[in-house]
């Protein structure tokens, strides 16, 4: 533990995380005061079931933001994959072992196309992924306009059931973040994302294969999106071209709250995890408090501003 604290202190992240943790604590206290049903096993196990989709897309978005990019096609892609999985399993429910890996490959592949287009056409990722979002959504609609398809009940159980009293989604989420965290901090390839995001020119001069790293980051974003889509389809039982659309903007807030800066090169998945936790628990609290979505929007906007305020001290801007 002290080692972690030391690392955090060295990376000057401790005070920032402290703010997020403090906010978390405040929210939990407020929730407990509002309702005696807030701090219950049932509520928190629901919370973990709810967090998994947002968590995975935010994890994916962390990679693209770390290299100084952004992926606005996440929502359309998530919808497309739910459509693929539900349609495929509707046709052959026994072939889960084919559907799942193919969905992952599809996600990573489309992510890689995002990266490749951005790198080789030298177009701002904002524009590339916006265009790709349109293309993916259109292609999905060609295949299926209305929600449909189905998944076997075992699949649904993954999204809702517990293992040893803890939701399966919680294991999946923690595992995904842990793997991503170790990969980013402790492997050469992972560190390269920081090099590319920190200073692309310097990275190139240091022999970092900048283009490949960028494509990899987008491929990972696509891959994480496919995982999120798998949980989404498990949760809803159907493929829906539109279901992912709100995720595009939703995926950005936790990343920013977690201290990864839009300019790239700084931040990490631990912060994003805290960000996801904060956003999810806050939504839960607002529901408990009976706050209408109008005010939830205002709160969302304020969270972004507060988050940026926390990390404002960095000279390159949030």
């Amino acid at each position: 533990m002290s080692a972690i604290v030391a690392t955090m202190r060295r990376n000057r992240l401790l005070p920032n995380y402290m703010v997020v943790l403090l906010l978390l604590a405040i929210i939990i206290v407020a929730g407990t005061l509002i309702s005696d049903r807030f701090l219950t096993v049932r509520n928190f196990s629901f919370l973990f079931q709810q967090m998994v989709v947002l968590g995975l897309v935010s994890l994916g978005q962390t990679f693209t933001i770390l290299i100084g990019g952004i992926d606005l096609s996440i929502g359309a892609l998530a919808g497309a994959i739910t459509v693929f999985v539900a349609s495929f399993l509707d046709w052959r429910p026994d072939l889960i072992w084919v559907a799942v890996p193919v969905a992952m490959m599809l996600g990573a592949g489309i992510g890689a196309i995002n990266g490749t287009l951005s790198v080789f056409l030298r177009v701002h990722p904002l524009i590339v992924t916006l265009g790709m979002s349109s293309v993916i959504f259109g292609l999905t609609l060609m295949y299926r306009k209305q929600p449909g398809g189905s998944v076997p009940i075992v699949f649904e159980d993954i999204a809702y059931n517990n293992f040893m009293g803890i939701p399966i989604t919680a294991y999946a989420l923690v595992a995904a973040f842990a793997i991503a965290g170790v990969w980013l901090q402790r492997t050469g390839t992972g560190r390269m994302l920081y090099f590319v995001g920190g200073d692309e020119e310097a990275a190139r001069l240091n022999g970092v294969p900048v283009r490949r790293v960028k494509i990899l980051a987008y491929a990972l974003a696509g891959f994480c999106t496919s995982l999120a889509a798998l949980f989404l389809v498990a949760k809803t039982g159907v493929g829906d071209p539109r279901i992912g659309l709100p995720l595009t903007l939703q995926s950005i807030t936790p990343v920013i709250v977690g201290g990864t800066i839009l300019a790239g090169g700084r931040g990490g998945v631990f912060g994003t995890f805290l960000g996801v936790l904060l956003v999810s628990i806050l939504n839960n609290l607002l529901n408990f408090a009976g706050v209408s979505s109008y005010w939830q929007w205002v709160v969302q906007g304020l969270i972004i501003i507060i988050a940026v305020g926390i990390y404002r001290s960095d000279r390159r801007g949030g």
Binding site: S35, R37, F38, T40, R42, N43, F46, Q49, Q50, V53, L141, R144, K145, Q146, P147, G148, E156, A159, Y160, L232, K235, T236, G237, V238, D240, P241, R242, I243, P246, L247, N283, N284, N287, F288, G290, S292, S293, Y294
Partner: protein, 391 residues
């Protein structure tokens, strides 16, 4: 106000003993009671003309001692229709505060994923019953089924989820009826011959797709009706107007009729005609209900039209049905609320007779996006309406 409850009850009672229907209605003359309850008179034709008996659901096993905690999960309150709908529900909850201790409300911004979380959060808060207006039929099916299996009764309102075993009853009006009426009226008004354009709502949204299907079903019987083109309009007036403007340029006077599935794009289409230089009496027949502006424009420019509102008043019925379930009163497996057919004067056809003409339904002073079939007290103004209800 009690009359509302009574009348609804009357409808349900009628369902239990179909043969007594006429008698009950005679006791409760609808028109006399419904001052201020626009768009809600009579019982639905779909029920009256349905030769089958209602399938009743025994709710004894959900019977519970009050007062109750009811959770209402709304798909969204992001447009005027959904706001009026939610107002009806909150108002009705307030009317029944003797039975309802807490009435918890969430809205999901049309995001099915958020609605799943919302429903779970309501369950966490210990609701006795869930009243749900789902964002989509399919995506919410699984979580709603899980709620039922946990012993929480679910009443669907406005839209349902795909599996009937996942809820007790469904309070609604029928998109199929809307679609059929529109198409039937158009076909008959054109005497079975003509080129029309279709302006449906959002691609993939179930009300839009059901209405398209019903439209096509009717047109299949009229070989003389030729659909020139179909373009989605996102139920957005600006998109409706721009789309119609382009179609006018493409086909000009070739268009004999415009089949809009709602007034949201429908009035945009009328405006596109006006911008293109068409004057009073020159605009082809159109369909579309839900908001006042279309009726007003149709009146002003003599557009032959037929509109049928998808009534926001179904929310009120929804709350009452929910209480019936908790009281152990048997309910029909599908509760339909009535819809009014509104036409221009002299635009009635053989099968589609007007319940009202345009200016009986709206006044020219009504706000353009008011939902006329709201079932709320006279003088309802969505901008200022703030009903008391047990929070």
């Amino acid at each position: 106000m009690n009359s509302i409850r009574h009348k609804t009850k009357a409808v349900f009672a009628a369902g239990i003993a179909g043969v007594l229907v006429a008698g009950v209605l005679a006791v409760v003359p609808a028109s006399a009671q419904d001052a201020g309850r626009k768009g809600y008179e009579g019982v639905p034709r779909t029920w009256l003309w349905n030769p089958n008996f209602n399938e009743m659901v025994d709710t004894a096993k959900w019977k519970k001692e009050g007062p109750y905690t009811i959770g209402f999960s709304n798909a969204s309150i992001s447009n005027a229709w959904r706001v009026a709908f939610q107002h009806g529900i909150l108002w009705s909850a307030g009317q029944n505060s003797d039975q309802i201790e807490r009435f918890l409300v969430t809205d999901a911004n049309d995001d099915p994923a958020k609605q799943i979380s919302d429903i779970q959060d309501l369950i966490s808060q210990g609701v006795d019953l869930l009243l749900i207006a789902p964002a989509t039929e399919e995506a919410l099916d699984s979580v709603v089924g899980r709620a039922m299996r946990q012993g929480i009764p679910v009443v669907m309102v406005d839209r349902k989820v795909s599996s009937p075993e996942n809820y007790i009853t469904f309070v609604t009006a029928s998109d199929t009826v809307v679609g059929r009426m529109e198409a039937q009226w158009m076909a008959e008004y054109l005497n079975g011959e003509g080129d029309i354009v279709m302006l449906p709502g959002i691609a993939g949204a179930s009300p839009a797709e059901i209405r398209i299907k019903a439209n096509k079903e009717v047109f299949s019987k009229y070989p003389g009706i030729n659909v020139l083109e179909m373009q989605y309009t996102d139920w957005n007036p600006a998109t409706g107007k721009a789309t119609m403007a382009a179609l006018i340029q493409k086909y000009g006077d070739k268009i004999d009729g415009v089949l809009a599935d709602s007034a949201l794009q429908g009035y945009g289409a009328i405006e596109a005609y006006l911008d293109a230089g068409y004057g009073k009496g020159e605009i082809p027949p159109m369909t579309g209900g839900d908001v006042a502006r279309m009726y007003q424009l149709a009146h002003e420019y003599d557009v032959p039209m037929m509109g049928i509102d998808y009534p926001t008043s179904m929310g009120i019925t929804g709350v009452e049905t929910a209480l019936d379930v908790l009281n152990g009163v048997p309910v029909p497996s599908r509760v339909e609320v009535n819809m009014q057919i509104v036409t221009s004067p002299d635009a009635e056809t053989a099968s589609v007779k007007a319940d009202r003409y345009l200016l009986d339904h709206v006044s020219m002073d009504d706000p353009g996006d008011l939902s006329p079939s709201n079932g709320l007290p006279e003088g309802y103004n969505p901008a200022t309406f703030d009903p008391e209800y047990p929070k």
